[in-house]
Structure formats: C-alpha cells, structure tokens
Amino acid sequence: MNVPSPYPCQRLQSPPLSRREMLSQCAGGFGALALAALQQNSAFADSIDATRKAGHGPHHEVRAKNVIFLYMDGGPSQVDTFDPKPLLKRFHGKDPGKLFTVEPTQFNNNGTVLASPWEFHQYGESGMSVSDLFPNIATCVDELAVIRSMVSEFPEHTFANYFLHTGSGLQGRPTMGAWVNYGLGSECENLPGFVVLNGGLIPPGGLDCFGSGFLPASYQGSIFQPSGSGVANISPTELSPDRQRGKLDLARSLDDIAVHRDGRHDSIESAIANYELAYAMQMAVPEVMSLTDEPAHLQKMYGLESKYEPTRIYGAQCMIARKMIEQGVRFIELTCPQVGGDRWDQHSNLKKGHENNAKAVDQPIAALLKDLRARGLLDETLVVWAGEFGRTPFAQGTNGRDHNPFGFTVWMAGGGVKPGTVYGATDEWGYKAIENRTEIHDLHATMLHLMGVDHTRSTFRFGGRDMRLTDVKGHVIESVIA
C-alpha cells in the first residue's frame, strides 16, 4: 500500500473522479481511500461536506489568503507601545480630571496622569515610533500598518473579547475565524480551517471566543495545544496503525453493505468520506506540530532557545502558525502564554507586567514576519496584532492602567496591507481616538475585504436576520490597503 504523502496538502494532479466513482474504486481499503482523497483535487473535496466547503467564495480580488491573528489578551497599553504621547511626561502626576473629561472606568480607582516608563524611538524608512518594549518588532515597522485610532464599545474584558472576536459583545456569536471559513471554505483538507494555537491563556469569555455560534459546528475553532497530542482525539488508541486500519476497513465494508441495502444518501456518503479525512488528520497534525526538522537558525530566530519560557512557547506557536500557513490553514489565532502576571491586563505594576508580556511575544512575532517575508508568504498572509482595548493614560492606583476602549492601537501586516503606515490618531493624551476613529467592525470589514470578501454580502440567516460579522456596520479602511 502507498505511503501517505508527507505533504498532505499538496495537490497532486490527477483526473477528477466523482465521489461515487471514488468510493467504488477505492473500496480496497481505508488507507487507500485516504490517500486517494488526498490526491484528489477540489472536485472531490467540494462534495465532501457541503457545510464545510460551501464558502460563498471571494467577491473580489484576494489579497490575503490566510490570517494569523496575534491576540494580545488583556489589552496592551497604546501609550506604552505604538502611540507615543510626550505630554504625559509633562503632566505626570497631575489630576487627569482637571485636564480632560474622564469616563467611568472598570475599577473606578483612578490615579494621576502616568507617563510611559518606556522611551520611544523612530525606526525604519517610515520613521515609525515604537517603544522600547518591542526592540524586535521595531525592526519590522516598514511592514506594519498601525491603526492608532481603534475604539471598542466595551470597557469590560469579556464583552470586549467577544466583540473583538465576533463583532458582538454577547456570548454565542460566530467568531472571525468561523466567518472567514464560512465565507471562503477551507483549502486544507487534513487540518481544520480555523485553528487556535493556545499558548496557555484562554481569554475571558472562554472557548466561546472561538465558537461558531449559529454557524454550523464545522466552523468552530480547533484548539491546538503546542505540546502533547496537539488536538483532542487525534491520537489513535490502537497499539498499532494496522489495528486501526483493520477496524476502519471492517466498518467500511459494513458501510458498503448498508449503502447497497438502504440506498445512497449524501449525508452518509459524506460521513464515510470524513473518516478518510479524519484518518489523514491523524498524520497531518503531529507533522505540523513538530518543529524538530526546522533549521537551527530559524529555531533560534523564533526564540525557541530563549531562556524565558514564555518566549519559547510563543516562538513555537509562531513557528507552527507559519507551517500551517504553508499548508493552507485559513485562520490561525494565537493566544498568549502565561507570564506570571495577568496577561496584558496591568491594573498595577504596569512596568513589570508589560515587560514580561512584551518579552514573550516580541522576538517570535518579528521572526514570524521575517520568515513569512523570506518565504514569499507575507504578501498573501494577513497578520493582525490586537488586544480587546487599550489602557488609560492615567494610572489605576499608582502604577497600573485601567481599561480604555476609547482609543487604542492595533496593527496589521502583509496580505495587501499598505506597509509603513500610521492611520488615525488619539488625542494629545492618548486617551480617545479623534482622527479616523476606527471601530472593531471596520477592522473586521477590512480584514474580510483583504481576503476578497465583501463584509456586507457574507451573511448567514439566523433568527429572522441575515447575520454578518460586522452586524449592520463596518467600513473598509481604504487608507491601510496597499
């Protein structure tokens, strides 16, 4: 019997067969069928599962085929990262209420104006300012489009997380990754189209940040752990591959008898085909999760040799993400690793907390951008770096910052993004967006747009409405598009 291809997503060209022809020709064994399935082009794949494959397809030119969403859980501070505000230094220690209108905050424990503990420097040809928190990302500024005028509707984590992920502050709505796969389908048949690489911190709101909501369950995010078996139920319990194959061949023979007896039904034939995919996934997942074959210099570049464990974890996540991109996984989200404190959510000890978080992600992210660029993949991969909100320019207590949905920074790179761009601005305090205010819906609309999807036309009817990721809102931010 043939050995399954080590590159399961590679499309070998062979004449398309109809599914029924396939099934009847491949009755010789499950393994054979699995391999055959891998070798088929979309004529086979399209019929496997209408709900999984039936993306409505792009509406216009596709700039980004895939997305890597670097989720900065907890809300990094804009004025300490990408949005320098020298005025804070001048008014450090002053009562913010006397300088500007202070909105209600989550902890209602507002202190005085707090200057950033970090210096900002200009980098690259664009001369973009980045704080000393991100010395590595700073070397990539000419790849970035930084949006300094993001706003959210919610100052609470969970609402804001759901909102950033699903376009609604409430629980149970489909998340971005689900929408993208709903819209475009999955190009990778033996890995899920929507993967969450869990670094250790599932955000507030839980797994519903990655759910499919009212979309079919097939679009929900698959949680991959960077260690262990990677994915739930991916490891056979049989002691040898032969035993599993024997068992599945038996089931297959009985299925054939049943199909012969009861007649053909699409749902049953799809289910039979799904066994082939599942069988292939058992091999594909360990392969994509293994980094041992990666060259030493790349491992080093991604931070896999770092002394700081969170950097090693996030480095591995970034490297796996790149491998998944190569395999055509449509949407990959990375959650943050544990750094001891409380993710980016520094209600106190801003300095230590932000330093640790930045240390975990800075080197791996820069490596990811460079590696994608070197492989020619960055142009078709949209990388998005975002938290659910920003932080207040005044202190919470003495040395923390509270939640701030009124103005914060996110950035995008690759995938049709205009590089070296700064878009929008907050006020002189870095508190509220005042120029080119950008809503989460706008970010979503833009991401979808870059993927070739018109956000107003990617709808799913539920509960009497044609639902969208962008609800009834959202404008594509043309200025950040190349």
Partner: protein
C-alpha cells in the same frame, strides 16, 4: 485635498438644488417642504454659512443624514433647516441661538453622540458650527432637497395583511386523494394530495425494524435493547406498532428526550458564561420541571402559562406525588441567560438582558423575532419598536428570585391562617381597651422637606406595594399601637408595637433552603439567606444617591439597580450593605446610580429580627434626625398609652398572650421549614418601559404601555396589579392568536420528520420560509387545540401516520422532480443528535444509570477545556452513566462531544439544530477514550452472555442496529475476529478482538444515521 472635496460636494449639492427648484416651479409643491424661515437673513451671516458651515455639513454629515443617503441614519436629515429643527429620533437637532442646547453641537463636541463617527472635527470647525447656531442658524431661503430614494416606510397593517403567519388559523378539510387506501390518517391525505398533484409516488412503508428503531430514537432518544428489539420483531399483532408507540409515550425517558428539544429553545445552561462562568444555581430544577411536565403531558397552553407567569397562577399545578408548586418552576426559563458582573453601564446591561429574554420568549412561543425591533421597527415583519418595548415593560415589572418551591404553597396557607389568628387576637386585645392610642394628634407634623425625601414609607404603603419573597414580613406592616405577641424571658407577653414598620416575624425561624451542589459560587448575594425571607420595596428612581433606610435588627440590604444581581468584581459592591444591630440607619451610597431604577431588598440574618420603617433618598443628617424625632414621638405616645393600661387589663392580656402563644405554636408545627430552591420570577412594581431611541439605553423616549404584539392584539392589557405577565400569557394562548399553536405543532413535526412544515421553526416571519403544506399546518393546529393541546396525542398521530412511516429509500424520479423532498416523497435519513449517540453507547455498554432528575453530573474536563471559571473538579469521563441531559451545561465549558455533534451553544432559541458532517465527528468515534471504553464494555457483555461467535455477533447487531446481522455481515464479522485473533496470536475469544469489533460497529454509519 479636503477643501477641494468639500467644495465639490457643495457644488454637487448646489446643482441638485437647482434641479429641485426648477421642478418645484413647474409642479405642485405638495411634497416639497420649504426650508424653515431664517429670521435674520443677513447676507454676511449667510456668507458665513455658505463658506464655513455648509461645506462642513456636506463633507461630514450628508452621506448619512442627507437627501441622498441610502438609509437615513437616526431619522435625521441635516441638509435643510426645517429638518434640523424638526430633528430625528432624538428630537430637534437645532435650537437657533442656543449652541449649548442644540443636539448637533453636542454631537460634534462628542458630549453625547459622537459625530462625525470617523473622528472629531477640528476645534475651529466645531467653533464655526457653534457660532452659526448662536447666530440663529441662518440658512438661505431655498427649497429643501427631496430624498432621491424612496425610503421604505413601516406600515404594520400592510405587513400584517400581506404575510401568511398573521392570518387566522383555518380549519381546512383534508383534501381528496386518488389512492384512498394509502392514507391512515388525515395527515396522510394532505401529504398524498400534493404528491399526486405532482405525479410522484410516496415511498414504500419502512421495514419493521427500521420503524421500530426510528420510534425509539424519536420518542425516547435511546435505542431498543437487543431484547426489546427481538420482542417487538417477533410480534405478529397488527396493533404492535400502536402498542409500542403507547409504551414509548408512557416511558419516563420520553420526557428526557423531548425536554432536550425544549431546552434548546430556552438556551438552557447551568452557568452564566461571561468572564468567570458563575453558577446558575438550581437551574436543573427547571430542566426537571420540563421533563416532568412533558411526561405528565401537561396541556401545552398550561405549559406556556406556567413559563410566562407560573408564579402568578391563582391555582398553581401541584406535583401529584409531593404536592409542591410545579407551575412556578416554569418561570425559570426567563433567567437562563448570560449574566455579567461589573458592567460599567449598568442600564445597558439590563437592556441587553431584557433583549435576550424577549428574544427567547418571542421565538420560543411565537416563532417571531421581536428582538429585531429593538433599535428600529422590524425590517420585514409586522413588529414595531413599540411592540418590543411594550414587552420589555413586563420584564421591568418582574424580579428574579430563588424560590422555595416545595414549601411555598403550604406556607402560604399557614401565613394566611397566621394573619387571621393575629388579627383575631389583636381584636381581642383591642376589646380590653377603652380606646385606641390617638397617634395622629399626638405627633407634631413632619417637616415637609424631610418628608419629601421619603421614597418608601411602611407606615402608609399600599397593599400591592407591600412585596416580599416569602411570608416572614406578614401580610402588612405592623402599625404603631398594634398588639403583638412578644417573646421575653418571662414567656409570652402582649405589647403594643412602638412604630410603623415592616417587621419580620420569628414565627418563621428555622427556614432551611436547599440548593444543589455549587461549582462556581460568585457574588456578594450568594451568602445572604434571601429565599423566602426578603422584603422588597417598591421600585423608585434614584434622584440624589444618598439613600438610607431606617431599620432595626440584623441582616442585609441589597439595592437592586436596573435588576442587576451579579454583584462580583470591581464595580457595584456598594449596593450590598450589612445591617448591624447597633445602628438604626443603614446608608447606601448610590450616587453612581442617580437616574436609575432601584428597589431595595431587606433580609434578616438567620433567625434574627429585622424591621424596616422607611427609606429616604437625599435626606440630610438633620432631616434624618427629624424623621427619628417623629418616630420617637409616636413611640412615646404608644408607650405612654401602654403604661396607662390598668392591671386588670394586663391580667387579661397575660391569659390572652398564653392562648395566643399556644395557637401560634400549634400553627407553627405545620410550617414547612425545609425546601429546595429553584429559579423563578416574581412580580415587582408594575411599570411600563420607555421606548429606547435606536435601542440606546441612554436615550429613553416615550413610555409604551404593556401590551401584546400589535399585529395580533395591540390594545393595552388590563393589568389589575403587578407585572401583567398573567395577562400576557393569556394573550399568547388566546384562541385567535395565529402563532402559538402553529409554532408548537410545527416544532413537533420538525422533530419527528426532520424538517418543519415551516422549515424555519423559530421564524415564521418574512425572512423565514413559508410552510410547505399550509393546510396541514392549520389542520394540525386546529386539531391540537380541539383535542386539548396534548403533545403526546399530537406525536402519537404523527408517528402513526403513513407519512412518518415511509421508508427512506428514494425514488429516482421523485428525487429528480423534487430534490429537496419538499413534498415528502420519502422520509429522510436522520443523524442522531449527540445526546442520543452517547446514550446509545451507554445502553450498549450496560453502564446506563437510568435514574431521572437531580443535580447535574459535572462535565468531564479535557486538557483542551481551559479558561477562567474552570470548575475545580472534572466530572467523571463516563458522566456517571447518566443520560446526556444530566451532564452539566456550563457555558464556558461545554462538552466537546456534544458541541461536535451540534448541541447548540446556549445563547438564544435554537429550534432547529444544524446537522454538520465533519471529520471531528469521526475522530471522536475513532479515538475518544470514552467511546473505546464503552465499546469494550459492550464486547464484554457479548462474551459473557454467549459462547457461540455467531450468537455474539447477532446480539451485537441486534443491540446496535435493532436487527439481526445478515449472512454477509455475519461472515465479514466472523472473518475479522478470526483474522485479528491470528494476527495478534491470541484466541478468538480474546476481549481485545471483540472490543475492536464493537468499536468498528460503533464507527459504521448505520450506528448514527437512522434510515
């Protein structure tokens, strides 16, 4: 660039104005409004407008607020003066001469609205606009541009007339058919008539074993055991199918299976989700209520009534075995949604909660999407925003509680007897006295300013406003001078009450409220023994924030602001305050909540006294001192009067006290002190809600009286007192409501046939699909009502119809003519729901624990189930062998097995589950250790029972598929056993080999796809 753009826009506008003016001059100016007259059309001012203001408006505003806007935002058009004066949803946008008072200026200053949304205008631009308004908003005398697009108007009557679902239910005669021998029921005539019309034949009858297996799964959600299957298949009785149906309908497992369908509608969960996933304590009592109600075949209208208003029924349904109040448990459905802690905008949080409640209620019972009308009139259906907020009023008038449902009815009786008993003795005490204390004349009148701060006064509260959870505060407050029985060291004595106060009665000491086990208790309220022991003030609007209550005793006060009860986290902790014996005022700092609706809940500590005299908002220390002074004057006068009572009378009192105490003691023995708790609703102050403009909770508009959907019966309901939910329930159940019965018969059809007659069971609106067989839908709805709204009877009829019993084999011609099977030429194959798959495995493994009811088995936590609020302990992998409906549904930790097989995320009504078909399902059946374990247990049972391989194989097929193995299957299975035994160098009786056979059978499609 910007300037050129703006000029361009102005130029375009100007040219369109020319056209408009030209048109106006040659046609009757009926529909063309003339711009509001500018009082001082000073040319300099006009020039300022043209140069500084109009370009600004054109550049930043017209796109959304102009005559050319596709959809006019907020109903506001700003390209002419009259429209600005008239305003939009939020009222006038412009007050000439008053920049600070003009909404448009507020909006550009980002003070309330933030316009333009893409970014604040430059300071000098804002200044220009302000100056223009201050000038009196000069605008040249010109014709207002006519909107280019005809914007759809909302005409409720028109929509009602033009959509099928609002039309009255008809009672059509079953149609004539040619093949008169085919129908077994009128249902079949409706189906066959359409098939005959299309020239399509119905499929053959399903095989007996296929039908049997279908019935088991459809009616009880479990497969027949091998014995049950063999027994049924051996019967030759023509009544056998009917008998089986009756048996299954009578099975206690019927309710479990159909309850799961219902739980999908009411987004059933046992935790609140959100950040920390706290418990919804005792949610399982609602689940058990539904199971019992369905098993008891409670008429559907009663089932509806109980869920909407089960707490308000004059004669609640009692549990036949244990006498507890069943009806009240139904109201738990309202409160199964997501709850959040520490919302910064607490009123918005309330409006989101209400939105979910309205959404679930309207979809579940009415199959319409009322929540789509939260921000604007429904885009497609005959549902107005006013309808939405009229329903919101019912919720605003209602409260959440954990009810002592086991004791409530008994203790209600006791409380009535107690009230009568106390009244009788008060009367007898009064008879011993020559006169009453003349309190009114004795006290000096209260200072008006102090009196004005009193928002709740238990001296003068009207009886419907005297609200409590339980009975311990009596039927009315104690009045100063009331004779009360006091317990002193010397025994029972009679005293006169010294003040007017709602007073807890120690008669009720020892109440014990029992909750199911906690997983994740959070919040300041969980430790307060509120159930059955809480006084609830009327709702009032916080005007000052400095709220204080005059109290005596020990306990807690909770200020429930905007019905928010998830008091945990950084915000809102100030709404819960202890009441400690030494101070007689408890103060609440509610400054944050000025302008919000609030009521207070007073709960005594366990077996402690608590009385509440009054509540103030905004009283100064001096005012409170005056209130105290007033109170003590009353107390003094009572004391003075009491001290004048002569000794002969006191002797009489002693005897009366002794008798009174004995009678109370006797009554007390009948108190039901221990009760389980369940989520329930109760009535608060009856109030209408404001229409929120564009759904924005900070923009309240007019009050909307509580009524039902206008398209059905929009007259304000006659609500004698309280929330009016009972009247709402009657409107939902009304015979002329075209929705309720259609919706439930359609749901039933959907569950049995795999697709509803209306394929979108939660949406009968314009965006939903139309019924494939409208006549059948109405026929079933009519019959259902005529036959007493029995769900079991309805199910029985459908499953005994020939339509239901068709085979799933398809006829090529029929498929070609009707590929979607809209006419029902065959019965489609159904994939089992996740619950039935797992339950089947339990049955096969012999590990099913068929116990009904009770607290859920904690969900098994895999390493992939992470996040905040993760339960400290994982549940057992096998769920203790209980049916899947008893596995805990924790919003943030849903069973991956269930979600993979499409058990819905509980956030809104889900009457039709998606049926996905993905590799993850195969991976579960292939590799989930639980599936492997169950398969092995099943194989062990086969080996234990049978020595012969053939018998084992037969039994396994019989138990997995409800049929014996065919010759071919037997041979293949036997061959596998032999081959594996030899490959593994083990015997053919090895459990390993048989376990693998079992696991292979579980992985056949026939196991989860039911023909």
């Amino acid at each position: 660039m910007t300037i050129i753009g703006a000029a361009g826009a102005t130029a375009r506008l100007a040219s369109s104005l020319v056209v408009s003016v030209a048109m106006a001059s040659c046609c009757l100016a009926n529909d063309i409004s003339v711009a509001g007259e500018t009082p001082s059309a000073d040319p300099v001012d006009l020039e300022f407008f043209e140069k500084e203001v109009r370009p600004l408006l054109a550049e930043h505003c017209f796109e959304c607020h102009g005559s050319q806007s596709e959809t006019l935002q907020a109903g506001l058009q700003v390209d002419n003066r009259a429209s600005l004066l008239e305003g939009g949803d939020s009222g006038a946008a412009l007050i000439p001469g008053d920049a600070d008072g003009s909404l448009i200026i507020e909006a550009v200053r980002y003070e309330s609205y933030e316009m333009p949304p893409e970014g604040k205008l430059a300071d000098e631009e804002i200044e220009a606009l302000s100056r223009w308004v201050e000038m009196g908003a000069p605008w040249p005398d010109e014709v207002a541009p006519t909107p280019v697009t005809s914007r759809p108007t909302f005409d409720l009557d028109d929509r009602k007339t033009n959509h099928w679902a609002w039309q009255a239910i008809e009672s059509p005669e079953p149609p004539q058919v040619q093949a008169t021998d085919w129908p077994r029921d009128e249902i079949d005539s409706f189906i066959l008539a359409r098939l005959e019309e299309a020239g399509l034949p119905p499929a053959a009858d399903a095989d007996r074993h296929v039908l049997m297996r279908r019935l088991y799964f459809d009616l009880i959600g479990m497969p027949p055991t091998a014995d049950q299957a063999a027994d049924f298949l051996s019967q030759s009785d023509p009544q056998a199918v009917e008998n089986l149906v009756d048996e299954l309908l009578a099975s206690k497992h019927f309710g479990e299976h159909w309850a799961r369908h219902w739980l999908d509608l009411v987004r059933y969960a046992e935790s609140r989700g959100h950040e920390f996933d706290p418990d919804i304590r005792n949610a399982y009592q609602y689940r058990d209520y539904v199971i019992r109600a369905l098993n008891a075949d409670v008429p559907y209208d009663q089932f509806v009534r109980e869920q909407i208003a089960g707490d308000l029924l004059p004669a609640p349904r009692l549990n036949p075995d244990q006498d507890f109040n069943e009806s009240i448990l139904g109201t738990g459905f309202w409160f199964l949604g997501e709850w959040v802690h520490s919302p910064v905008d607490i009123r918005k949080d309330e409006s989101d909660r209400f939105d979910n409640m309205i959404d679930v209620m309207s979809k579940t019972f009415l199959g319409v999407t009322v929540a789509c009308a939260r921000c604007h009139d429904h885009k497609f259906d005959a549902i107005s925003t006013a309808d939405y907020y009229s329903l919101s009023g019912f919720l605003q008038s209602s409260d959440y509680r954990q009810v002592r449902f086991e004791s409530i009815e008994n203790n209600r009786e006791i409380s009535e007897e107690l009230a009568a008993l106390d009244a009788r003795y008060r009367e007898r005490v009064a008879e011993t006295l020559p006169n009453e204390p003349a309190l009114d004349q004795l006290s000096t009148p209260l200072d008006e300013a102090a009196a004005a701060t009193v928002v709740v006064d238990y001296a003068e509260i009207a009886s419907p406003e005297y609200m409590q959870d339980g009975f311990i505060f009596g039927e009315r407050p104690r009045h100063a001078g009331d004779a009360v029985l006091a317990r002193t060291d010397a025994g029972a004595t009679i005293q006169l009450a010294k003040r007017n106060a709602a007073t807890s009665d120690r008669f009720w000491d020892g109440l014990e409220s029992v909750s199911g086990p906690a997983t994740n208790k959070r919040g300041a309220l969980v430790k307060i023994p509120q159930s059955g022991r809480t006084l609830r003030t009327p709702t009032f609007l916080v005007e000052h924030g400095n709220v204080a209550a005059r109290v005596d005793g020990q306990g807690h006060v909770f200020a429930c602001v905007d019905s928010h009860r998830m008091i945990a986290g950084p915000l809102h902790g100030q709404v819960v305050r202890p009441i400690k014996g030494e101070k007689q005022w408890v103060q609440l700092d509610l400054n944050r909540y000025v302008g919000h609706r609030v009521h207070l809940e007073f709960t005594p500590s366990t077996d402690a006294d608590l009385s509440v005299v009054l509540v103030t908002d905004g009283a100064t220390d001096e005012m409170r001192a005056q209130l105290e002074q007033h109170e003590s004057e009353i107390a003094d006068s009572v004391a003075e009067y009491e001290s004048a009572v002569d000794s002969a009378v006191l002797e009489q009192w002693q005897q009366l006290a002794a008798d009174w105490a004995v009678e109370r003691e006797k009554l007390s023995e009948r108190v039901n002190r221990r009760s389980a708790l369940a989520i329930a609703m109760s009535d608060g102050s009856g109030e209408d809600d404001h229409i929120l403009i564009r759904g924005n909770s900070s923009k309240p508009g007019d009050l909307e009286p509580r009524h039902f959907l206008t398209a059905i019966s929009g007259e304000p309901l006659e609500i004698p007192t309280g929330s009016g939910r009972l009247q709402l329930a009657e409107a939902i159940n009304a015979a002329d409501n075209p929705l309720t019965r259609r919706v439930i018969v359609n749901r039933t059809w959907h569950h049995l046939m795999g697709r509803g007659i209306v394929p979108t069971p939660d949406d009968f609106g314009v965006l939903g699909q139309r019924p494939t067989h409208p006549g059948l839908l109405d026929y079933l709805a009519t019959e259902f009502a005529d036959e007493g709204q029995s769900l079991k009877d309805l199910i029985r009829r459908i499953v005994l119809s020939r339509t239901y019993q068709m085979a799933s084999q398809t006829d090529a011609a029929a498929v070609a003519a009707d590929p979607k099977n809209l006419l029902w030429h065959h019965r489609p194959v159904q994939r089992l729901p996740g619950e039935a798959i797992r339950d089947s495995l339990l049955v096969l493994s012999g590990r099913l624990d068929a116990t009904l009811f009770g607290p859920s088995v904690p969900v098994h936590l895999t390493p992939f189930m992470e996040g905040r609020g993760r339960p400290a302990h994982s549940g057992p992998r096998d769920g203790k062998g209980r049916r899947s409906i008893y596995t805990a549904v924790r919003r943030n930790f849903l069973s991956p097995f269930m979600t993979t097989f499409d058990t819905p995320t509980p956030f809104s009504t889900m009457g039709r589950r998606t049926v996905s078909n993905v590799p993850a399902q195969a991976l579960i059946l292939m590799n989930d250790p639980l599936v492997v374990e169950f398969s092995r247990d099943w194989a062990e049972r086969a080996i234990e029972q049978f020595d012969e391989h053939v018998e084992r194989i037969d039994w396994m097929f019989q138990s997995a598929f409800g049929r014996p193995a065919s010759e071919q299957e037997r041979a293949i299975a036997a061959e596998y056993i032999a081959a594996q035994a030899s490959a593994r160098e083990t015997t053919a009786d090895s459990i390993d080999v048989w376990a693998d056979l079992a696991h292979a059978l579980v992985n056949t499609k026939e196991f989860i796809y039911i023909p």
